[in-house]
Structure formats: C-alpha cells, structure tokens
Symmetry: D2
Subunit: 331 residues, 4 copies
C-alpha cells in the first residue's frame, strides 16, 4: 500500500515548476575556468533537470515557467519539446529579461564550482496569472523548486500553484534547492520555504537546507527524525534528507526510515547528482514502488549522471538505470 | 464556554504588530484639503489605533514595530509610553526611513479621503530578527495588520511572528486592513493575506477584503458563510465580516452567526470606526464575553470615535462605552 | 554698463526651475518638534521661493516643474497662479509621486532644523521632454537649483534647459542649493553641479558648496577669489559666495569684488534668508543696478523674511525692502 | 604640423576607459544561435578592443575599469596583462557584480546579432574615486566609450576622468559607441554624450549616433559638416563620421574633410570593424601621420578583423596592416 495517492485518471503525470536555465559547461576540464576557452551549452536548472529526468523515464510531463524572449529562451523551449515535455505553460517573458546562466568549472571530481548569472532572469518573472487551475488539476504531481521562491512575482506564483495543487489533490513534491544568489537573507529563505514545506507531501533537502527552515523558530536540533516529525505534523508523508556522498535517509509518516545507498561511479563532476536522484526516485514512487526501491533507482540514476559531462543530456532511461542496479547488486 | 482560550497566566494581554504612523488631520474641515492651511498631528495606523484602544480599556498591551529615527518616530514612541503601552519591542530604524503620514481630508461626514505618504517608511522595515520569541510567548493575544504584509522584510517578520504565536498558543487576530498603496498587485495581497488567515484564530475584514483572499483560487462566491467556512477549515474560530454602516456579522466555528448593530452618532468622519470597533470587540472576547456583547461593545466604541476629530486620541474608556450602550438600549 | 545682458524684448523676465514643495511649519515654536501638535502649510522649495520673491517684486515670472496629482500638487499650482506666476509649464505628474515635504522645527532663532520627505517626489520626475525650447527662449533669465540635479530624469532635464538657455542667450542663474538627502554621494553632487556651473552666468553658493564642486579635481583651496576665477574661465560673469550671517562677497569677471552687509532683524528662524536674498539680488541685476545696490537690496529682503514665520508668504514688495534700507542707512 | 598635440614626455601613450567584457562567439556559424552548441570565449567590449589594438601596434597602454571578482574578471585582467597593457587601474569590484557578456550569432556575414548580458555588470560600477589624477596625467591620450556613461556611478567617473584629462592636456578621444541596452532613454543618451563631446578633442561615431547628441536641442540637420562644426565650437579638432561599409569622413577644425575608403575582405562577421579601425586610426594620429594616412591604416586593420572569428584576438600588428595596404594599393 502506498503512502501517497496519485490520482490515476489524470492525463499528465508530472509538472515541473520554476527555473529554466542554460548551463555552459567548460569543455577543457581539470583546470580553473580562467584557462578554459570553450563551453558547451545545455538546458539546466534543477526543476528543468528533474522534469527532463522524469520525462526520459517515460512519464507524461509538462512545465510551468517563463523563458526569455531570445535565442536562449527559444533553445530551452525547443529542447523541452524535443524531449516530449509539454510546453503549453512555458511562457515567453516580454519584459526584457535574460535566461539564467551557470558556467561550470570542473577542477577535479571533488572541486567543482559554478559561476551564476541570475540578475533580471526570466524564470523569476513567473507570475500568479501564469498559474492556470486547469493545467494543474490535470496532473498527478507537481514539483516545486525552492529557488522559485527567491523573488517576487515568482514567489507568489508558487504559493498559488501549491494551493491549487492541494485543492485538487495533486501530490506536491518540494525540493528545497537552496541557492544563496537570489535571496536577501537566510532567514527570508527559511520562512518562505517553511510555508511551502507545510503544504507539501514529499520534501527533499540536505541537512543544512532543513536547518534553514527551522532556524527562525528556535534553536537548531539538527536531528533528521525531529525534522521529519515537524513536517509530518503538517501534510508531509515522506521527508528525504540527503547526506551528499553518504546517500539519503527517507522518513515516512508511519514512523519508518530508509537509508539509501550509492553506486560506484567514474565521477566527472558532482553537478546533477541530486536532480537525477530526484527524478528517478519520483518515478519509483509514481510507479507505486516502495521507498527503498525508489531510493535505489534514484541512486543508480545519479551514478550515471555524475559520470557524464552534462546534466540534462545525460538523464538515463529506465533500462540504463536498471542495468546499473543489475550490475552492482548481487543476485 | 469560550470558543477561544487565552492563556491566562501570561503577563501581557495584547500585542499589536505593524504600522505606526502620523495622522495629520485638517483643522479646517468641510472643504477640500487644498483650502486647508493647518493640520493637527496624531499617532495613527490601524494596529497602533487598535492597541491604543485595547490599552485604554485597561488591558496590558505592547507593540512590535519600527519607527523612524527622527522627531516623528520619537513622538510616536513617547505617545505609546504615555498611554501605558510597552515599547520595549518598538525599534528605532536607523536606515534613513521616514514615518508614514496620512493627511486627512474631511469634505463632509460621508466624503472623506486620505493622502498617504508610504514611501521608504520605517514600519515596513520590521525584520525577522526583530521578532523575539520571548516577547511573543509572554502574551495572550497578538493582532496582525495585513498592511504589514505589503513589503519585505516586514512581510517575513509577520510570518515569523504568526508562527511563533501558534507555537506558544498566543491567540492570533488578523485584520486584513487592505491599503492598496504599498502592494504590487491585488493578487499579491490576496495570496499573502490568505497565508496569514490560514494561521489565524480570529479574522476581521470587509466583504471586498475577503474577496481579495479568495480571488486567486477560483470564482468568487461573495458569500459570508462560505468565506467563514473556508477559514474554519484551517485554524479560525471566529470570522467577522464588516459591512460598513450596516454593521458586522460574526461567524463562529460551531456554526452560529451574530449580526451586530450600530449606534447613532454625530458623525464627523468615518476614519477610525473599524479600529475602535476592533479594539472594543477584542476587549470583550478577552473578558470572556459572548460574541453579541463583544460586538455591541465594539459598535458603541465606534460611535464615539466617529464623532470626534481624531482616532487615537478619541479611543474611549470602558465606562464611556458602557454609557453609550446604556443610553441607547431599552431596559 | 552692465556685466550681464538681458534680452530686453523677451516677454517673460524670469523662470524658476526645479523643486515645488510644501513646508509644514510648526505653530508652537521654541520647542522640539516632538512637542508640536499643529503645523501650518506653505509653498516651499528654494527655486519656488526665489520665483515667488521675484514675482512679488513685479517681474513677469514663470516656472518649469512637476507637481503631484493630489491635493498638495493642486495647492501649489493654485498658489503660484494667485501670485501671478505663469504655470503653463508646471506639469502634473501622473506616475504616483508625492509632493516633497519639509517639517520645520524652530527650537530657537539659531537652532532650527528640517525633517524632509523626499522619497518618490514629483519634482525630480521632471524630464527632458518637459523642457520646451519655445518656453525658454521667451525669457530673459532662468534660475537653476542644484537640487534638481540630484536624480534622474530631473538631472537630464536641467542639462537640456541650460543648453537651450545658452543657445538663446537666456541668462543662467545657478543656485547650488546643496541638500544631501537625494544625492548618492558628495562626489556625485560636485561633478554634476560643476557641469552646470560651467555653463552659468551667475553662480550663488556658500563656501562649502563651492568646495563640493572643486573637490573631485584636486586639493581644496578654500579661496573665494580662486573659486570665482575657476568659473570665470568658463561662462560666469558673477560668482557670489555666501558666508551666512557674515553677508556675502560678489566677484565679477572684470576683477572686482563687493562685500555685502546684513540688516538687523528680529530673527524668528534662518530658513528663507538665502532665497529672499537671491530673489531681491536678481531683481536688482535685472533692473541694471550695480552689484552693491543689488546685494544691499537682497540683504534687506532677507532681514524681513527671517523675521517672519513663513518663507514664501513673507516675500516682501520693493517698497517694503526699500523701507528697511531707508530705516537703516544714514542719509 | 599636427592638429592635435600629444605631450611627448608622458610615459604612457594611451588609456582606455570603460567596458571590459566577455564575448562568447558561436563556434558553429551560419545558423541561428538556437542551433549552436559551443562557444569560444574572448575578451570584448569596445574600449577593451581599441586598447588591445593600440597596444598590439606597440603603444604603451593602460586601462581604467572594473572587473568582476570571479573567473571571468580574472581572465580579463590576465589577458590584458599578457598583452602588455597596464592593469594597475583595473579594479576588482567586490560588490557582487558579474562580467558583461556578448553571445554572438553569425547567421551570415551580413546578418549578425548579439545577445547581451548587461545587468549588474562590474564595468558600470567604476566610480569617481577610481579615477586617479596621477594615472591620467602620465598619459598622452585617453579614450572614452559612450557606454560608460550609461549608468551611475560609471557616468560620474567618466566626467571626472574627462575633466582631469583636460586639466592635464591629455588628448580626449570619444567613441559614442551607442548600445541601447543600459540606457533609460535616447534623450538621456544624447544629453550625457553631448556633455562629453563638448570636452573631447576627437569624436568618433556613426551618423545616427551624432543625431542622438543633437536631437534634444532642435530639429535634426543630418548634415555631417554641421555636426562637425557644432563640436568645433567647443574643443573638438577632429570629428569622424562613420558610414559603415561606405567608409568614414573625417572633418578637421581647419575646415578640411577627408573621405576614407575600405579594403576588400573575406567577411566572416562585421563585429569589431569599428574598434579595429579606431585603434589603428588613433595609432596613426599619435605617430603624427596625416588624417588620410591614419584613416587608410584604420580601414586596412578593419579588413583584417572582419575576416576573423574573433575581435580582440585578431587585432593586427603594424606590419600586418601595412601588408594589406601594400597589397591593395598601386605603386
């Protein structure tokens, strides 16, 4: 029996909401970006990556967001369409915004950094009027990225989307996805993310991200079970705390917890690990798999993506993921 | 038996939070402001007025807010202290803000308007760090004004205060108090006010104000009972819908409703009617009175204030209110 | 023979450009503003006051500026019209601005201060398109207030007005009128004011104001003659350095200097001294009087205004000024 | 005899001031950028390109500007240093800015466009305090790019630099370099560029750029000679009006004009034509060459750069330019 009920009759499985960006990945790696001369362009942004992952696994997916009215915006929309993702709610922003950029620097598998361009970006211009009740109520699940809360009017659009999702029993996934760049303060981040976490069915985040949400309201406990219980007191059914290379622990409202493992990988960079995990984990839950199997599927997907130069382009199929699991698990 | 439980052991009865302003009331009335040459200065702002009203009725009161670092800010703080209101959480803002102003124009008792100065005001600089758990947990009740949600960081400070109030069973009163000036859009107003209404025990507003909160989430019903039921599904126990000169209707979670009346008055202006009503109504509830008696007390208080030139200065004592009730009710 | 040539055939004598504000003068004086409860409203702002002064002396005057679309804006426009000042180039700003305010505090004749409201003010929304070549070329002289340079688009409007004035041989008066409030930095002030000073025929300012203009370009000399010479190397004919209660020194391009005196006064407050001086001094120059007589006329006018509660309302007639001179000068 | 006198004793020949950017040039050309997947990174920005050109020709050069405190900023500084350009006045901006970007799209030699990232850029944070009198007075010439006037505080820094250059007889070159992106309005552009043009010795721009400077002050004449005369009435000695593929016309204060030609080229893209022309033209003037020879040298340099994939990297040596001239001119 499943903790979470997806409304099976809905035509759309999954909607991503929020950031649609461009990654510019250094072609010459293992050096500082100052010494890099060429870059390859990919679609990026955490909710974009997760949606691409879910669609790659065969789920009917769509996206709610805004893109810039230029070559980068058109590239993103075309890419999503080519991947079979519905873009009827991807709006071209006409206010002179640009697409967010992430230049990635890969000095070594464990020393990666990102140079972000997040000023005047189209994705944060998502506004409440862009959130259409008709679109949301046709879906089984929606994924909110915390970064979409970083500024108005996108912040208000998120609250509207979450409320409409609850109204229509659309399962709300919330990925805290903390990126300091666009926020005014850590306390602002914690306060708004907590308001969304209260209304979410499944919450994903790292230990430090959950701490952000608790910090305004008393001394930090830094206790995963206490964190999970806090959100179970609201609407959450699953709280997944990520511990980087040490895997993740999933807590469920019925009092259980599940420790996930990781798979060996030829790590090129760590970017994309979380997004590929999330996509495959959600896929498992939507298939009615138990938590452990969903976590395992997520971890295997992550092991594939961290071995690749890109994030979005590298999202694997179910067969590719299963092959990794088969290879590494004893029979 | 009371719908609402106040924690009787707390030393402070009531905390107001939000706007602390200056009213500049035209001395020469019954004419356009262009022809007015002199103005009298009063403390104003809806939560300030309500707190002054509650304090005047004898309740131990305090305030959470920011004032400008100038003569107007010092005037406000001094005025509150002179009225016996605790100002230990009224913070002097050092960032170069000013005090909000409201120049009032009284052309006739039914034709009043306000010229607002709301740019760069100190009250909207209230920030999460100003919200002290110690202060809130010592109180029985807190009053949130919707205007404090109009801009950051005051908006985040409100969410923090409400959450801490809930954590410590401090009764949350929410006065929607819609003032278009500081908001970006009506939809923004509705979305944030709804998030606070969900967490409030008692909600006060006009019909149009409640419509604002419902507009983002489906066709308007414009039905007071449906509105009340919406918030009873969250934490509300009392929803009071104000209908201007026609009085108010209070709905309670146990399914009852109470229609309030008004008292005759020599109306000078309509400003301050709502704040004086709210102050006396809250006073009644905190005394454990039933809804009807509290409404009547509120209406009698309003009849006194609308007959006066000022708002804050005119807030009556319990004896003065009772005298009005005695005069107009048959025995 | 006159240093400055006014184009006698022009129908308008004088145009003021820039700030149109409201002064709210404390009625109860000799105390801190915190203890003041009533205020009287006057038209204010340095270029407004100077223009009112010049018009009061009988010169055909007009104004280029923006007022707010509210009761304060309408009061100002009506007041100028009642004083016979042409308001055909006073534009009502429709962008939601307010009128600048100055609450005056008069603790003692020598301890006066001002509490300014300068956020989102209409006067700084003056824009280049508001500057009409036809209007300027019909005038003999124009007065620029440095405060109009404090922000865009008013700053650009000033540069356009000055350039058109030069094109049509309209005499440019420049009053540095430094008010820190609206500027980003002292260096910004100095740089823009210097660009206008270069193009001005007559420059008025205090020693510290002239220092601001020189500071970006080398060590300060604090030498009035050197200051005057600096601007004579551009277009200036007269440079008048004000030394507060010690009077003023006027330098002329032909190498002369004239030390002005002051007249005894029953000082109520020091506000308005500079504006009344400037108005009467300009009146003298426009009449073809020599520098000394113009300075004397200015000083006598100032002595009248500092003895009064208001600035704009107190601007004297030529007869009133002459009476002061007659009373205090030996025959 | 030369129209322009360079102070021969100065140790530095040439200072560029303003924009230091990154060009990201599409590697796959002759297609829309949507279909491009890889980009090559170059230093860009008009004044950077001109300075690199002048330095490549052997002149002792330096730069006044701000770069971002990140990998892109460090790349730019390093590149300039590698080219022998003094970077002691290139300041690392610590306020969280980014480097401006220009993604270039080359659909065909005649259909090129640029996608600009100009929000929150380091170069426009240049401030008056960055302008050091000591640095400027050691140079023979300075080049101002009009883009540096697009926003404060860079705008004020330019005015300070120009004034100090005039004070020390440093020859002021002004390239109007109009880029709509960062400006509020065309009238704002015209007004500020005209203020710099008034103080410049040599002004370079296209016909439409000169029109921008004249538009605020009367009906457009669209007459190159009239344009030149306008600026000769101030400080200009040479006014060069560029007519794109049709070459340029240089007007001199002594009443002459010189029509420049162009050289045949295998055009890859048109970007960089103006900057390479300007660099070589300035080099000619600084060598004391006559106008015609300087123009010819500029045109030959441009023919080399438009045949290349990059701008900054392609700037030629004097020998390379001379070879083009020799090849195409009869003997």
């Amino acid at each position: 029996m499943s903790l979470i009920t997806f409304e099976e009759s809905r035509p759309m499985d999954f909607i991503g909401l929020g950031r649609l960006c461009i990654d510019l990945n250094a072609n010459e790696i293992h050096r500082p970006m100052e010494e890099t001369r060429t870059f390859t362009k990919y679609v990026g942004g955490s909710p974009a990556n997760i949606t691409i992952a879910v669609a790659r696994l065969g789920k009917a997916s769509g996206f709610i967001g805004r893109v810039s009215d230029d070559q980068h915006g058109r590239f993103i929309t075309k890419y999503l369409e080519d991947r079979g993702i519905d873009t009827s709610n991807v709006i071209t922003d006409k206010s002179g915004t640009v697409t967010g950029l992430a230049f990635t620097e890969i000095k070594s598998p464990t020393d990666c950094s990102i140079l972000m361009y997040r000023d005047n970006v189209a994705d944060l211009k998502l506004e409440p009027a862009d959130i259409r009740e008709e679109y949301i109520k046709n879906a089984k699940a929606i994924m909110i990225s915390g970064t979409a809360l970083a500024a108005s009017p996108s912040r208000e659009a998120v609250f509207k989307a979450v409320e409409l999702a609850r109204k229509h029993r659309v399962v709300v996934f919330f990925d805290i996805d903390y990126r300091p760049y666009s926020w005014s303060s850590r306390e602002e981040t914690g306060i708004y993310c907590a308001l969304v976490a209260e209304k979410s069915d499944v919450i994903l985040g790292g230990r430090e991200e959950f701490d952000l949400l608790e910090a305004p309201y008393g001394p930090l406990q830094k206790d995963d079970q206490a964190t999970a219980d806090r959100w179970f007191a609201h609407h959450a059914k699953i709280v997944l705390v990520k511990h980087g290379g040490d895997g993740s622990v999933a807590f469920t409202k019925d009092g259980q917890s599940f420790t996930g493992t990781t798979f060996p990988a030829n790590v090129v960079k760590t970017f994309g690990a979380g997004d590929s995990f999330a996509g495959a984990f959600i896929y498992g839950l939507m298939n009615g798999w138990d938590i452990s199997r969903s976590q395992q599927f997520g971890a295997a997907s992550a092991s594939i993506v961290v071995s690749s130069h890109s994030c979005s382009d590298a999202m694997p199929t179910a067969e590719e993921i299963q092959a990794v699991i088969d290879k590494h698990t004893s029979r």
